[in-house]
Symmetry: C2
Subunit: 416 residues, 2 copies
């Protein structure tokens, strides 16, 4: 029969396995970040190609497609690696479901690209298709953050997810603005959508700074220099405060696009830094856990030869001093180690709860969408559109609308 | 490169692995329940042996010790099985730490028994020693419930944990009352402790009925017949409302013990039913998940030969009807299956959150204890005693005191 200490060692080994797994997942999150960035660029170039009737960016788009295909292979290899390695992944069921959902999107890319190349699809639809695919990739990152069992790593993954999501909103804003300037006119609906995209970005970056810690938060602030931000805000104001239907300077289309691209590229640098911090953190954690496991195993060897002296009940009914020999001291030090381990796990569990609460906002929106899909027979796309539209119309945050939907669940048709 | 459907299959396999693991853990929880019951009886017999200066129950105790040793072997074998099987257990780190903590307690039992047999230890200390060991075993059950990833199973495990905890409070009440009647007098402190034990039982059984569902709740009510309950309440009232220092009828000691034992044995029947329900539920879940995995794999074989038609973007930019061939239909049914899986996981995750919230009360108490241990350099025993004493003095629930302690964390000495 195995001893308590051997279970302490087993607990440590589980922890190391989990950390190894988290290391691999974090690596994959970095790769997904690079693919998302490349797809965001491909979306931008495709938009301009479509808007210019195939006259502009054809060559750049070809190059970019090549880059996307290369990164797609890396991401797919990462997915396959997870499936091959993980006999049991911490949150395997959910992570694999997210991956299962996004892969048909990657499979569908060649057809989408062919249709873009043949100018068979509109700018808005092409943008929406890329956005759907990117949302699927971000959902994998979200699941990785939500399934992480180490609070520090979970915190950085949550920072990463929020940053990537904020960057995606920035990418959507670039497309939205480019379309408005290129059209030479804006309308009320697009202006509302634009404002929502700005607010959504700000919320994401706010959560990011909360989770990422002061160093990265400062880097993030410094990466957005005053002049560029001023330029961005000036262009935003120009487009959004112009009365719907009034002319916009269509020459500003390129200025806008470049200004946004500069900003998004700066975000990429932060994202890369986040990814490398994440790798370093995983490595450090694994090294620490291994060292502690070694120390436990050494103690295990030492204890193996000694006889138990039932120190367990000492605080209730101490035994006479005669038994307090070497074995007894050793046993006490094992009990102390167990106590310490249990306190550490408690503290970790508390912190994990706190990090997951920070991911809650997204869960509320997902849950409200699920409810609408189930009870109003909507597709995910339609449910999301409905929530967003309601948020726009009522000038409320998406998450607040989601909460209202959930609290009204009993009044929805089809609810039993 | 693997397809989305193969990840769906992988997600199902993870789910089946988790269910298999939960099945084993649930089996172990049943075994722990039997050991706890046997230890509760051994505690009772040991108390009487000690109180009667070795004159009563010596033979019965010997038999009971044999039964405990047999069950202890079963539990240890179950622990070892978990360690051998689980390369990665859902919550392996925490579950193994709990097991590591309780094993030195089982190791220390022979010495405790020798001291009881030699009448070297007082009734109160012997009781407290058994209570500490039982608390350690219940902590393993708690962790199993908290780490479960299937909400229905988690719900039954939570019902089981609360029932076992309630039964343990009933056992402590039996010991407390037996000591009071045997002494022929009661005091204010013991009366307070007694009232706390009654309230704690009621809370546990309340949570149990919430989680166990109507069938078990009815069985539970029926298992406590009116006359016996009336007898119990009469004895409780007699002891607790007698002014401290006034004489108690010491003849009632046996009546009290038998009345409580009848009640606790009836609890055992409910606990056995819970354990067998748990096994049946795990079996059913595993069968269901296997059937669904087979269906997925059959579809996977069917799809393998067909070419992708990028149905993924259909809701955004539908393709011309010419491509809507057989492969396209198949692809849509895969996407529908993914959608359904994702909704199911979401619903499961929501329900798990609800079940875990029900386990929260215990976590608050554990956390408050940890805080006291860290900042006031107390042992776990002392921290628990302090919380319980404060609850008694202020006539508040333990969980409320724990919450106050946590909210005052910043004012505790030694906090940075």
């Amino acid at each position: 029969m195995k001893s308590g200490l051997s279970f302490l060692v087993a607990a440590r080994r589980c922890e190391i396995d989990e950390l190894d797994q988290l290391g691999r997942t974090s690596e994959l999150v970095g790769t997904i970040g690079r693919l998302v960035h490349a797809l965001q660029r491909e979306r931008g170039l495709s938009n301009v190609l479509l808007a210019s009737q195939g006259r502009r960016f054809a060559a750049q788009r070809s190059v970019q497609v090549g880059e996307c295909i290369r990164l797609e292979h890396e991401v797919r290899a990462g997915f396959d690696g997870l499936q091959a390695e993980a006999r049991r992944l911490g949150s395997g069921t959910r992570l694999f479901s997210r991956i299962a959902w996004v892969l048909p999107g990657l499979d569908a890319l060649p057809v989408l690209r062919r249709r873009v190349g043949a100018l068979e699809i509109g700018v808005a639809d092409a943008s929406a298709a890329f956005a759907k695919l990117i949302a699927g990739l971000l959902a994998v990152v979200f699941e990785a953050a939500d399934g992480a069992t180490d609070p520090e790593i979970s915190r950085l993954l949550a920072a990463m997810f929020n940053f990537m999501q904020g960057k995606e909103f920035a990418g959507q804003e670039r497309a939205c603005g480019a379309a408005a300037f290129a059209a030479g006119v804006d309308d009320g609906t697009r202006q509302q959508q634009w404002l929502q995209l700005i607010a959504a970005q700000e919320r994401c970056f706010h959560v990011f700074t909360e989770f990422a810690g002061p160093v990265l938060a400062t880097l993030w602030q410094e990466s957005q220099p005053g002049e560029e931000t001023a330029e961005l805000e000036r262009l935003r104001r120009a487009a959004i405060t112009t009365a719907p239907g009034e002319p916009l300077d269509s020459e500003l289309s390129t200025v806008w696009f470049d200004c946004c691209s500069l900003r998004i590229d700066a975000m990429k640098a932060i994202e890369d830094r986040l990814a490398s911090d994440l790798r370093a953190l995983c490595d450090r954690k694994i090294t620490e856990a291994r060292a502690e496991a070694d120390a436990n195993e050494a103690l295990l060897d030492q204890v193996a030869g000694t006889e138990g002296t039932s120190a367990f009940f000492d605080d209730i009914a101490p035994q006479p001093p005669t038994v307090k020999a070497y074995g007894h001291q050793l046993e006490r030090s094992v009990l102390d180690m167990l106590q310490e381990q249990s306190q550490r796990l408690q503290a970790m569990s508390d912190e994990l709860d706190a990090v997951r609460a920070g991911l809650n906002e997204r869960k509320l929106v997902e849950r409200a969408k699920g409810l609408l899909m189930a009870h109003r027979r909507m597709t995910e796309e339609e449910a999301h559109k409905m929530l967003r539209q309601t948020a726009m119309n009522q000038n409320r945050r998406l998450v607040d609308v989601a909460e209202s939907v959930l609290s009204m669940a009993d009044f929805l048709p089809g609810t039993s």
